[in-house]
């Protein structure tokens, strides 16, 4: 175990993205290591104290009138699991995403990297501090503990993590990678977790994951909530759909709904799960029950039960990339655009299919932050509006989830409906599955961590 000087390093924020100035104070290469059961938790805490003292002294020299403030309002455990990665660690990215999260939610961060290759010693730890650097005033710093374990030490992890949690503060566990429900291996840890974050976009098989999640929900502790970042990416879509029906006259059309058309593109099959969640959400909120699910050439067609059946179509269409804002102009007989960063391509809710009824449509834009909405009712001419959304990085998505406590019942309802779609369709089940490694690269290892999830 070594202690060395504190290095404050200013890093440039991404251009065009609002981020506070970040400074990384690290006791460079400060490493605590041991055998599979011999990482000294007390030593980590002692080293953290030393780190803070050293940081304060370094800062005193640099900016003598401003204090260093250590802040913490939660515990964030980040588990990166890369069993098939041939030993490549996802840690550097996960740690930096977590560092961005703490700028909005000061946390003690524990990054736990479970590696496929063997380590010597099999369990290792290091610590660092991440500071926000305001132009003036106090420097706000959060601490990060990095644990690396190989397979032989994995079962010892809960015993190391639990004593490192700051008591009395909420515990969030963010699982990065496929097999989120492998977390059950850490049942000892799960007992202390308030919120379990995962990303179904990284799942090899969302259908299976959905089923496992639905199985787990009724059995979980009341205080444990499940959050899916893939669902969080749908928030702007849900917002835009909801916005149509804030107006009273538009709301009156909802009971007359006849069809819902959701478009996704086949080159990104994971998006089918997102589309299934979106369809599930609309069904759930309108109390619609799927009666039949039929595979079609485009994708799947779902008919709902009841007197007024609503037809849902989740359509997968190939097509060359093109400006999505031209989508409607090229609609007849042509494939829609495929903005690279957009997941669900469009959603339309219509009361009639013959052009005389009302229709409410959202089409994703091509610049990650824009969309077009179209609204046509009997009372008004076609109204087209361009909508801009905040770009939501992975860090932003996680941060947003940290801002809310408790269960997301709407998500649970949407998930149950998505499971019904999977249950009725062979095609839905097959196209929802996708090799995870490609997605992990896309979502986590993106050099800027912008996550390509602006509108997704």
């Amino acid at each position: 175990m070594r202690a060395s000087g504190v290095v404050f390093e200013r890093r440039q924020a991404d251009e065009g993205v609002m981020k506070p100035n970040l400074e990384f104070a690290a006791i460079d290469t400060q490493l605590l290591d041991g055998g599979s059961s011999s990482v000294d938790v007390d030593a980590i805490e002692r080293e953290l104290d030393r780190l803070w003292k050293a940081a304060a002294e370094a800062h005193e020299t640099e900016r003598p009138h401003d204090a260093v403030m250590r802040a913490c309002s939660a515990n964030l455990i980040v588990i990166t699991s890369a069993p098939d990665s041939g030993g490549a660690s996802t840690f550097p990215d996960a740690a930096e995403v977590a560092a961005e999260v703490v700028t909005r939610h000061p946390c003690r961060v524990l990054v736990v990297d479970v590696l496929a290759q063997s380590l010597d010693p099999p369990l290792q730890a290091s610590i660092s501090a991440r500071c926000q650097m305001p132009e003036q005033g106090k420097r706000i710093c959060c601490e990060q503990i990095h644990l690396q374990a190989d397979a032989s030490a994995e079962e010892d992890l809960p015993g190391v993590i639990l004593p490192l949690l700051i008591p009395g503060l909420p515990v969030y566990l963010w699982w990065i990678g496929d097999g989120a429900f492998e977390i059950v291996r850490y049942h000892q840890l799960i007992e202390s977790v308030d919120c379990f974050l995962f990303d179904s976009a990284l799942s090899d098989d969302p259908r299976v994951q959905t089923a496992r999640l639905l199985e787990a929900i009724p059995r979980r502790r009341e205080s444990l909530s499940f959050r899916d970042l893939n669902w969080a990416r749908l928030t702007p879509w849900r917002q835009m759909v909801a916005q149509f029906f804030d107006a009273r006259d538009a709301l009156a059309y909802l009971p007359l709904l006849e069809s819902v058309d959701i478009e996704v593109v086949p080159s990104r099959p994971r998006r089918f799960h997102q589309a299934a969640l979106l369809a599930g959400w609309i069904m759930g909120q309108l109390n619609l029950e799927p009666e039949s699910v039929v595979d079609t050439k485009r994708g799947v067609m779902i008919e709902t039960r009841g007197e007024r059946s609503v037809q849902f179509e989740i359509g997968v269409r190939p097509g060359p990339p093109r400006n999505a804002l031209d989508h409607w102009a090229h609609r007849e007989g042509e494939a829609p655009a495929e903005p690279l960063s957009v997941g669900v391509l469009s959603v339309s809710l219509s009361t009639r299919g013959d052009g005389r009824g009302a229709s409410f449509s959202v089409c994703g834009g091509d610049d990650e932050e824009s969309a077009l909405t179209r609204e046509k009712t009997l009372e008004s001419d076609m109204v087209e509006r361009r909508v801009r959304h905040r770009h939501r990085t992975v860090a932003r998505l996680v941060g947003d989830e940290l801002a809310f406590a408790g269960r997301d019942l709407v998500f649970e309802k949407a998930l149950a409906k998505a499971a019904d779609i999977y249950a009725g369709s062979c095609r839905a089940a097959s196209i929802a599955s996708v090799p995870v490694q490609q997605l992990q690269n896309e979502l986590i290892r993106s050099p800027t961590h912008r996550g390509r999830d602006g509108m997704v």
Binding site: M69, A71, S73, T235, A242, P255, N287, V383, R390, V410
Partner: protein, 522 residues
């Protein structure tokens, strides 16, 4: 599916700040300081946060002639200068500026309003602004009644208005008017203004703005009191010795002498900001967070304020005016040297009051407030001083005990701290006061929005909780008029009575000293 829906089912559980329905904001007095410094930067930041609706448009209404392009360019400059977020993001600004228009007209010219109506209709068609209107009175108060009358005459302010020739366009669902302070200069003028507003509008269309209520920390007062179980049981006369509210400004009248000299600290600060802070600290729990439920409780506090009038003003109030002095090492001039100040005037730049709320919770608990210009620092805080323990157990060590104090810092360095006694480490028992601190800046990384951002958004969403209701404004004026009346009978003889850069006149210290108390050192 039900045959009819009373609420939008897609709003359930949508964990995103709600954006309002499409609308157009019409700013009267669009070339003024308020528009440049506060309104446009606030709108820009709302755009940046993606909180404004699609199709949102702004029409600046003012007398001077300029083109849309000139107006947009001036507004861009003001955002670059005054926005809390920097640097300006060009793409965001450009998309916002596409929806900004300028309309030149005289406030009293009916043709100007007819032309405005046409412009709004065009904007509705081109941008899908849905005929919802937010009118912002950023003019001098003297113009309010004229503008309101004209809006009434042209039907522009009618909720659900369908503009002429609107076939094929959805009629607006709402029209709202934001009225800037000062809302009158006394009870009579406030009543007249209310009457004038309500002859054209319904009360629920009127949003009287007090930007203090939009401050994050002010809103937190209710969360702190009613979102925690441990404070409310001791929030009463049984445990609280007294309350202090301080709103200090280090600036002077800064060239606004002409306006300020007609107003003074009592009207400019106490009638609105200070009394609103007091109401939030003293109010009973509302039955819900519905706007009227909250405002009902605030107005009850004003009605329970023990009137101060006539000769009582000598014992319960202190007024002051600053003379020359020194602030932060710089010599500064006295109040009467500012341009626009009438040398015969007796306008106060400092007020201290001892108030009582005659209700079950607060009977006989003094509430001391002070506010003034050219005080040593800019600071606003509320301090709740609790009663001392009934018995001093620690001998001599206990004699130096300080009472527990809960301080809510409104600005700057927003937060809450609780002072309590602790044992100094050592073999003997010695006590020392320590602070338990909560700081917004350290607990939440995000920069809080400006008050105007929150208030503009609330108005667009139809939430009037943080706006002053008509009866609230009148009750506050009624209380303040009593003090004013007493002062008028006894004009001040000792102005200026405090030096710039000090905490006010000596009589302010005495106001508390007579009760064996003292102001908090800030």
């Amino acid at each position: 599916m039900k045959a009819t829906l009373s609420a939008n089912p897609f709003r359930e559980g949508l964990r995103i700040e709600r954006t309002p329905s499409p609308c157009t904001m019409i700013i009267f007095g669009a070339t003024g300081d308020l528009t440049a410094r506060k309104l446009i930067p606030a709108l820009y930041n709302l755009v940046l946060e993606r909180l404004l609706p699609p199709g949102f448009s702004v029409v600046g209404f003012a007398r001077s002639g300029k083109s849309n392009e000139q107006f947009r360019s001036e507004l861009r400059d003001s955002v670059e200068k005054y926005s809390r977020t920097q640097p300006l993001q060009k793409a965001i600004w450009d998309s916002f500026a596409e929806g900004v228009f300028y309309h030149q007209a005289d406030y009293a010219d009916p043709d100007g309003y007819a032309a405005l109506s046409k412009l709004l209709h065009r904007i509705d068609c081109e941008r899908g602004a849905s005929s919802n209107r937010l009118f912002y009175m950023a003019t001098p108060p003297a113009a309010y009644q004229e503008i309101i009358g004209q809006l009434g005459a042209t039907g522009l302010a009618a909720p659900g208005a369908c503009p002429t020739g609107s076939a094929g366009n959805r009629c607006g669902e709402w029209a709202r008017v934001i009225v800037e302070k000062p809302f009158g200069k006394d009870l009579a003028s406030a009543k007249a203004l209310n009457q004038s507003l309500l002859s054209v509008l319904k009360e629920e269309q009127v949003y009287r703005i007090d930007h203090y209520l939009g401050k994050e920390t002010v809103q937190n007062i209710l969360v702190f009191r009613f979102g925690n179980g441990i404070f409310e049981p001791v929030w009463n006369r049984r445990y609280i010795d007294h309350v202090q509210i301080t709103a200090g400004e280090s600036v002077g009248v800064e060239g606004r002498g002409g306006y300020y000299d007609q107003s003074g600290a009592l009207r400019d600060m106490v009638q609105n900001h200070i009394l609103q802070l007091l109401a939030l600290v003293a109010m009973e729990p509302p039955s819900s967070m519905d706007a009227n439920a909250v405002r009902d409780e605030r107005v009850k506090v004003f009605r329970a304020l023990r009137p101060i009038g006539g000769s009582q003003s000598e014992s319960f109030t202190v007024r002051g005016r600053y003379g020359p002095g020194s602030l932060s090492g710089t010599r500064v001039a006295g109040y009467s040297e500012d341009t626009g100040v009438d040398h015969e005037s007796t306008t106060e730049s400092f007020v201290a009051l001892k108030l009582f709320i005659d209700n079950w919770r607060w009977a006989d608990v003094p509430i001391y407030v002070r506010t003034g210009k050219r005080l040593p620092k800019r600071i606003t805080e509320i301090s709740i001083q609790f009663s001392c323990p009934p018995l001093l157990l620690f001998g001599e060590a206990g004699e130096s005990m300080s009472p527990n104090t809960l301080t809510m810092r409104i600005q700057p360095d927003e937060g809450i701290s609780l002072r309590f006694e602790a044992k100094l480490p050592g073999q003997t028992t010695r006590l020392r006061s320590v602070n338990m601190d909560f700081r917004y800046s350290t607990s939440f990384g995000a920069q809080p929005p400006e008050a105007y951002e929150r208030l503009l958004l609330d108005c667009m969403l139809g939430d009037s909780t943080l706006f002053t209701r008509g009866d609230e404004a009148e009750s506050a004026w009624e209380f303040v008029d009593g003090i004013r009346c007493g002062w008028d009978q006894h004009p001040p003889q000792d102005f200026p009575n405090y030096a710039a850069g000090t905490w006010g006149p000596e009589s302010a210290r005495r106001l508390l000293a007579e009760d064996a108390r003292e102001w908090r050192r800030l």
